[in-house]
Symmetry: D2
Subunit: 113 residues, 4 copies
């Protein structure tokens, strides 16, 4: 279903700090597009403050931006579980355990943030 | 960048119903500074995706950015309660009721987002 | 179990500074009904763990219970703003300021919990 | 006050629908203890409403209870990832994919609730 796995084999991968491919690489453009929109929302908020827009309207925009950020986080986490964590699980051992502990800590930060 | 900005210029803006300045006006620079930092975080996230940074590190940054956004929202809401809502409460009547209903709805969106 | 309950009976209770009944008193039965349902959910969760129910199903129930709790909190906060805070705002002075500061702190705890 | 606890004693496990043990089984007593405390918090809230306690104090208790619930959810999720999901990942195939999709959906519900 995704051809991205080939990419992961390249020796020249700049950030090969774990034993498997990064999960999000195949969707890089989609993530960048979503993050650019979020950056635009942050700029839009500055415009609202500069123009003395109504507080409640600004709060509505902040809620929308928070939801957009959360969606990106959930998508990244899903990719991460399906790639890095899955690979580590198959490999087994300490690496699997470490990846799972790391993923749980990231989930806790998301739930509490 | 978006045409929505034009809407805000109308003199007859429906939200312009309170008897005083927007609560956040006095802290405008502080809010702008915080929002610029948040915009920088959104740009930083794009850099992390472009450079294939590790998913978990990206998620950590997203959690930090979500917390920063929430703090701005809570500060704005506090200013709003202390200015617009307080003015409306003193004035009394339908306006007070409307402002409180509006504030409660904004709080609900924040809690659920 | 805690002696704090006695405190609440004293007429001179420091929180008893608003000019009327607690905002939620009129809806007491409705709140009690919702809280009993939430207590039932907590008991249901214990049953699920005892019966070795599937983790994901337990998590789904916890999410539902968290949402139910949040709804009660938002309803209470709305009542509080419309009664205690409104009264204090009309009375003005330090009391108004104190009530608003207290409400903002409660909102912050809800958003971050 | 509740007879539900009797239910928990039944030896006959009714819902063994996956290929491995439930992750939380080893910590069953710890989970039950935490859930009983949460049930107690729900009862305490009813007492506070009955006794007309101050809204803000009730909200503080609700925030504490929400945090307690979230901690149980995060612990269960961690156990689930380390057992069910890990087993499925090693087994591979559709089962692994299904378990990961299911876990991601549960995480999304937690983050958004």
């Amino acid at each position: 279903m995704n051809d991205a796995e080939d990419i992961f084999m390249h020796e020249s991968h700049p950030a090969e700090t774990h034993n498997g491919p990064h999960g999000y690489i195949s969707n890089k453009d989609a993530y960048l597009k979503r993050l650019r929109r979020i950056e635009g929302q942050a700029r839009g908020l500055q415009g609202m403050v500069t123009d003395d827009k109504y507080c409640i309207d600004i709060l509505t925009q902040i809620s929308a931006m928070t939801s957009a950020l959360e969606s990106v986080a959930l998508a990244l986490l899903d990719d991460h579980l399906n790639h890095c964590v899955l690979h580590a699980a198959v490999a087994g051992g300490d690496e699997a355990e470490a990846k799972l502990r790391e993923a749980s800590a990231a989930i806790a930060r998301l739930v509490r943030s």
